[in-house]
């Protein structure tokens, strides 16, 4: 799927809708026996690999699951601390899944409001009067496209750099937004959208 994520940001810079649809490509699951030859450290509420890169497990990868059960930040699903659990030889052999840490919803909120400010800076930096904000941001792994409506809502799509037709996709998303979000009388404007219908339409 060439579209990685969709973000909808309201007039004030708050994230009101977010959808991720990329398949994480860099994940590795391996069985380990005591002692663990990777050095793990706690950082930002997550357990990261600090040293010991090998076999597809890279420095910076986070512990995603232990024995097939997803971990919750630095705690396992049963509430034990991951580092303690892995320090205890009685729990081995253990199968750990490592991968690039996914963004938490708080981080996404922060990134969205930061993008909102950068968007405004983009239009102010312009030598010409009345320039638009940031419309496209390009890196070597993805392209970010942004469309701002006349009412101040921003639709942001992260896609594969070679993907074409994103402009019409942004307009289609605007239409879907105006249908599902607005025609629902119980939805208050500028508030987060939580509708499943919207998710299905957006996925399609």
């Amino acid at each position: 799927m060439a579209i990685f994520s969709v973000y909808v940001v309201n007039k004030a810079g708050g994230l009101i809708y977010q959808l991720d649809s990329y398949a994480p490509r860099a994940e590795a699951e391996k069985t380990f026996s005591y002692p663990l030859d990777l050095l793990l450290k706690l950082h930002d509420e997550r357990v990261l690999v600090a040293f010991g890169q090998r076999d597809g497990i890279r420095v910076g990868h986070a512990v995603l699951a232990i024995n097939g059960v997803d971990v919750n930040g630095k705690y396992t699903a049963d509430g034990k601390e991951v580092l303690e659990y892995l320090g205890n030889p009685a729990n081995y052999p253990v199968s750990i899944r490592f991968g690039r840490p996914r963004l938490t919803s708080n981080e996404k909120l922060m990134l969205a409001s930061m993008f909102h400010s950068l968007f405004a800076i983009g239009s102010q930096l312009s030598p010409e009067q009345g320039s638009s904000g940031i419309e496209m941001l390009e890196t070597d792994t993805f392209k970010l496209h942004c469309f701002q409506t006349l009412t101040g809502i921003k639709f942001v799509v992260l896609a594969d750099p070679r993907q074409a037709g994103i402009d019409s996709l942004l307009r289609k998303i605007y239409e879907i937004y105006s249908d599902f979000a607005l025609k629902n009388p119980f939805y208050s404007l500028e508030m987060p959208i939580s509708m499943k219908l919207k998710a299905e339409e957006a996925g399609a």
Partner: protein
């Protein structure tokens, strides 16, 4: 695409359903409030809530850009918006010398098909919802306007006339890049 859809919408049973629904709404409000002025205010408020949502739908479907003056706005309202949502094209007349007021003349108003105002509701502005819609929609694109009916076929005038007045441009909370 827009023309074909509105033609379907406005020829046939769905326009009757709309007229009936609106009629039921107004009569219920009259029963609830018993006072024409309050009903007018409620219709305006309801129209405002419709307008702030309708503008997004309108912009998503019609692809018009930002209007740079009130004349452009008037044109877009009459020729695109009214056509899209009500299937009628009002005419624009009576521009004030400063260019900040104009009148929309509606030959026929789909909301009032088959409606007759009784004598005890003589100060009821039946289609006041439309004024609220115009006010709400324009407020979301940073224009503060006032809309009111000055002629109404229900009250015996020949045409329905809405007077639109531009109050000011809303400067707070402008989307980036629009200054």
């Amino acid at each position: 695409m827009v023309g074909a859809e509105t033609k379907e919408l406005w020829s046939g049973t769905s326009s009757e359903l709309f007229t009936l629904t609106y009629g039921a709404l107004v009569t219920q409000l009259c029963k609830d409030y018993e006072n024409d002025e309050d009903v007018n205010k409620q219709l305006d408020k309801m129209g405002y809530n419709i307008g702030v949502r309708l503008i997004e739908d309108f912009l998503a479907r019609s692809n018009v850009g930002r209007c740079h003056d009130f004349r452009e706005t008037a044109d877009v309202i009459a020729k695109v918006a009214f056509k899209m949502y009500l299937g009628i094209t009002p005419s624009i007349t009576n521009w004030s010398p400063a260019g900040d007021e104009f009148s929309l003349i509606l030959e026929n108003n789909p909301l009032v098909d088959f409606v007759e105002l009784p004598d005890n509701h003589s100060s009821l502005i039946y289609s006041n919802l439309l004024c609220g819609v115009l006010r709400g929609a324009l407020e979301m694109v940073q224009m503060a306007v006032e809309a009111k009916f000055v002629q109404d076929t229900l009250k015996g005038d020949g045409v329905t006339e809405i007077r639109m007045r531009f109050i000011r441009r809303i400067e707070d909370n402008l989307p980036a890049g629009e200054e």
